[in-house]
Symmetry: none
Subunit: 205 residues, 4 copies
């Protein structure tokens, strides 16, 4: 976790701002052109700084996408946090949460970015590791919710729990692909069938 992460910067505030600048630009470019389609030249232009300068903040292009993945992970954590903080029966809370969930996952550009990460995982073991680690954490948090007091499925077997979690995750991440495959698809349409499915997954079969 400390191989060559950062060189010391005199002004950490500026440094952090610049890192953000680069990450934002890279996200934009990767979304538009894909990881391989976007060159450092384009990223640097988008970020408003020279290509060489980016290397003062990131060791490589690879390090940039790794950073984006980690950022992604942190966003995901905050979403779970919200669920954990909310009171009330889990089924109810999550069905209400579907609205935000679908919105997030139907966003076409987020989908593209996620696909790029997954594609990169096929060749880059570190990217694969980060994505897997992120997924493991997400499953763990989800399991925490499902075995909590407020859950109706807190007594099912571990294997069934795993099944429920994986199907739910498959469904949501599958949504990321749908806008690419079917751009006209609307959020409220999806919700019509998605909510019953979520209910199925959160109550005993």
């Amino acid at each position: 976790m400390s191989e060559k992460t950062t060189k010391k910067h005199h002004d950490p505030v500026l440094a952090e701002a610049r890192r953000k600048q680069v990450l934002k630009a890279a996200e934009d470019c990767f979304r538009r052109k894909g990881y391989h389609g976007a060159g450092m030249a384009e990223i640097s232009k988008t970020a408003g700084m020279s290509a060489g300068h980016i290397y003062n903040y990131f060791a490589s292009k690879e390090a940039i996408i790794e950073s984006i993945i980690q950022q992604d992970m942190e966003e995901m954590f905050s979403i779970f946090q919200q669920f954990e903080d909310q009171s009330g029966e889990l089924v109810k809370v999550m069905i209400e949460g579907c609205d935000h969930g679908v919105e997030r996952h139907l966003n076409r550009e987020d989908g593209i970015l996620k696909i790029e990460m997954l594609a990169e995982a096929a060749r880059n073991p570190k990217v694969a590791f980060l994505l897997q680690e992120s997924d493991t954490q997400a499953r763990t948090r989800m399991r925490g919710l499902l075995v909590g007091e407020r859950s109706q499925v807190k007594d099912v077997t571990d294997k069934e729990l795993d099944a429920r979690i994986n199907v739910m995750f498959a469904m949501f991440s599958g949504l990321l692909l749908r806008r690419t495959l079917y751009p006209e698809l609307q959020k409220d349409t999806i919700l019509l069938a998605l909510r019953p499915v979520v209910k199925t997954l959160l109550t005993p079969f």
Copy 2:
């Protein structure tokens, strides 16, 4: 629809055989290394012909993946055909079909190939068009099944039908990603929760 698809070949039978050879080799390579990870040199070696010769059958590397997508579409059709040919209540038929469906979609290499196609769609409009066309056809076939005599949901509104189809497609295509994110995941685990969900999607809410 035929801009530069084929040049005239002296022996059309041999030509078609060679095209197949290339497509198969390219599929293999893309699965193993991804679209950008696999070079023309590797593809040509796998196909057992020179790199230069491939350009007698395909205008570019892009044209190869476009062809693979079209081929993929045809495979998908044959799967729907099977469902359509089978008799019995749709719910039962499809729940039994889940087994094959999960197997197909959990395969890690198929997942990689599909992800590569989707990633390419972000920058190549023709790829996007082909994938969307393929998806549209798949949804049409699926709708045909759901409004047929054997279906329990043949009377729901068009919008709800669309919802059910999209959620089901999201779930299955989402499975393609799971092996990359969670390599230890087993088919029988998934089926535990997937079958109830499929049932939910094929019966009135």
Copy 3:
């Protein structure tokens, strides 16, 4: 000795010719600009082929200088071979050989090339290894001559033998530097003092 030495070439004769072409061009460029001063662009232009094509024959720029070193080694071997093949008292043979030896070592451009190799050895362990290996072989051959029947010092201790060899080698390789430091220096001038020294080194003290 076989990591990535050569890819298979259809026409080994052409391939060897191209390799020679590149080596010759690289030698020229390194001599004129030094290893770091000469870019692949310049080398390729000098060789009369594209930069990219060079990589069909050499894995890297490093591999090129390594090849030059090995070539150098082989030249050196053939020189020792000449001494070994010649009959007569060793002192006499070698003092006569001084003429060629000085000529070879006073050549300014050869000196520059050798200096570049030595400079590179300071940062590149493989280069260092090759040069050391070459030197070891040279010392071994030299020792072979010095302990032969025709030698007047065949009975000195190993350590003294080593001393004699190293001083002789130091002197000759030192000549490589002199033309850079003193361009007007002439061969016949050097020989005036060099021959007595060689005689000293080949006869008992």
Copy 4:
């Protein structure tokens, strides 16, 4: 002779101290990594000042190595001074001096630094000029010793004198290379053969 050597500094004493600081740091770095291997960043860190600030004292990286060479020249002078100050027969004095001489010239890092300078001379005329000037001065001092009262060769021809000097210089500078080519070589081994050679060079043939 002062084209861009120094800009005006407010405090010339401090300025000179800073220059020394940089030269010392650069020498260290060049010794360890070579001229091209050591970056301005590393030099500035070693010198304990910012990279930018170095440019207040030196016009370029080249200017630094030029300065180091000049400094080197001065060291060399002081060594000749020692010989000139010493009394006694020259042969005896110098043979005793061999000990120090070999020590100095067998040092691997000194060798690297000198090689870097020579390599740089191939592309930088100013460096070449400085080194040649330095060598000319050294030969002049040496000639002074050889034609002095204490010398046994004070009556030989100018040409022979030149020969003797050049062979001696070749031999010693050649020693600089030997540690790179044969790291195990020991000082006392070398001395075994070097002293007889020095004697040969300082006495009539």
